[in-house]
């Protein structure tokens, strides 16, 4: 076993080519997870009958399921049942034409929804109960109270929590490689199959992931700092 810098360079090149895929996986997952997670958090915050109980149970149970296991199972289900589903919805494409990305997204988003939803719910609950009453007392509606009183107060608690989750989301996208989606890691180890020396590939992948995490975290910390400035101005 040896370590060749030329191989590392080649693997780095391969990894960099797939940065857009990893970024796309991250951002799409991030946006959908936040939106759905927010909705669920609000439903649970207001204890909406049935739905609140349902989502509470779903999140508690689903958080026990590792992303890797979910991915593997969804992928197998997809391979098995695609034809039936395609028939039902009159989709004429064959399974080979369908991008497995869709399976990746389903697994990534459903897992991430849980963590973002819990973060947002925690932040909403940190607002004192009398703030709702104060809103209603000056004649605001339920929705007005939420958007004008409660939400602005919970944003400073939501932002850092969301940023902490974000790095987890980036790293989670790496797992879709097991269902054959090529992202940064896949791109990095692709040249290795020729040399049979995989170390360079994985080191290249680690370096590129490290860089992505660092850059995204830095950007979001700036956002956090900006939101804090805004908050100070309010005070």
């Amino acid at each position: 076993m040896t370590f060749q810098f030329e191989n590392l360079a080649e693997s780095l090149q391969g990894a960099v080519t797939y940065i857009p895929i990893t970024l796309k996986l991250t951002l799409v997952t991030f946006v959908w997870s936040i939106l759905i997670g927010f909705l669920i958090a609000v439903i649970r915050n207001y204890k909406v009958p049935v739905l609140s109980k349902f989502f509470g149970a779903f999140i508690t149970i689903y958080m026990g399921l590792p992303l890797m296991v979910a991915l593997v199972i969804y992928h197998l289900l997809f391979l098995t049942y695609y034809e039936k589903i395609a028939l039902f919805f009159h989709i004429s494409k064959s399974i080979n034409e369908i991008n497995p990305l869709i399976v990746g997204y389903i697994a990534l988003i459903s897992t991430n929804v849980c963590s973002y939803s819990e973060t947002i719910r925690g932040a909403l609950m940190s607002v004192d109960h009398t703030q709702y009453e104060a809103g209603y007392s000056i004649g605001l509606t339920k929705a007005q109270t939420f958007f004008r009183i409660i939400l602005p107060q919970s944003v400073p608690a939501i932002v850092p929590g969301v940023i902490n989750n974000l790095v987890g989301t980036i790293k989670g996208t790496n797992l879709v490689s097991v269902i054959g989606i090529i992202e940064v890691m896949g791109g990095a180890i692709y040249p290795c199959s020729r040399t049979y020396s995989y170390l360079e590939g994985y080191i290249a992948a680690a370096l590129v992931y490290w860089l992505i995490s660092f850059i995204l975290e830095t950007i979001f910390r700036r956002v956090e700092a900006a939101s804090n400035r805004f908050r100070r101005q309010l005070v």
Partner: protein
């Protein structure tokens, strides 16, 4: 196609996969126990802010936090033999793959738990140490009797979340092959019979159930100690 998933096969697989929890648990226990010790060292050294070492620890923590565990695992799996061969002239290719997994998990936990411990230590007011000194305790007595119990109390929720995280992380090790944890066993059984889904569903159920149990246990411990907190 219709019998792709069958309840009968599913039930038959349970007694074959459940015993492999011993392999999964062994990874969790080894990485939590040694990882906790490593994390205590990392946290203490970080707080002492020793030049050079401080920068090194920053890079270490940033690498562990910023890269996926699957990649870290592979770097250790392929990199450690080369490292041992080059520096110590030791051939570790005969080591069980589980050793590499354990090492990767321990290094990962050293960073993650280290950050948790560092936060906990820094959150304890300096007066607590001073109060210990003021009644005549030595530095060691103060740490063991006053500071450590408070650290343990304050990290219980985070430690629980982390433990469940490590348990979930074990679902990655089957990608290395040759490790018969619950996922590895599910894969092997699936390949042998041609029915892969059933085994993975068994594994999924095991993960969900045990995660819930762990969550309840830590919730109970935390509730029990709640009076003692500020």
């Amino acid at each position: 196609m219709g019998d792709y998933f069958s309840i009968e096969r599913f039930l038959k697989l349970i007694p074959k996969i459940v015993p492999q929890l011993s392999v999964t648990f062994a990874i969790v226990i080894v990485s939590m126990v040694i990882g906790t010790l490593l994390a205590l060292v990392v946290a203490t050294l970080e707080i002492k802010k020793i030049p050079v070492l401080q920068q090194f620890l920053k890079v270490y923590v940033s690498y562990m936090r910023g890269t996926p565990l699957l990649v870290q695992m592979m770097v250790v799996y392929y990199g450690l033999p080369l490292l041992m061969q080059t520096i110590f002239k030791i051939d570790v290719n005969s080591w069980s793959p589980i050793v590499f997994v354990d090492i990767a998990f321990i290094l990962n936990e050293g960073a993650f738990l280290g950050e948790i411990f560092r936060g906990a230590i820094l959150s304890i007011p300096i007066e607590q140490t001073e109060a210990g000194y003021s009644i005549g305790m030595t530095g060691i007595q103060t740490f063991v009797r006053i500071i450590l119990p408070q650290i343990i109390r304050s990290i219980i929720p985070a430690y629980g979340v982390d433990l469940i995280g490590v348990f979930h992380n074990t679902s990655l090790v089957f990608t290395i092959g040759g490790i018969l944890d619950i996922m590895g066993k599910a894969k092997v059984l699936g390949t042998a019979t041609g029915h892969t889904l059933d085994g993975y569903v068994v594994a999924a159920l095991i993960y969900v159930l045990i995660s819930l149990v762990l969550k309840i246990i830590f919730y109970r411990i935390d509730k029990k100690l709640v009076f003692e907190r500020r």
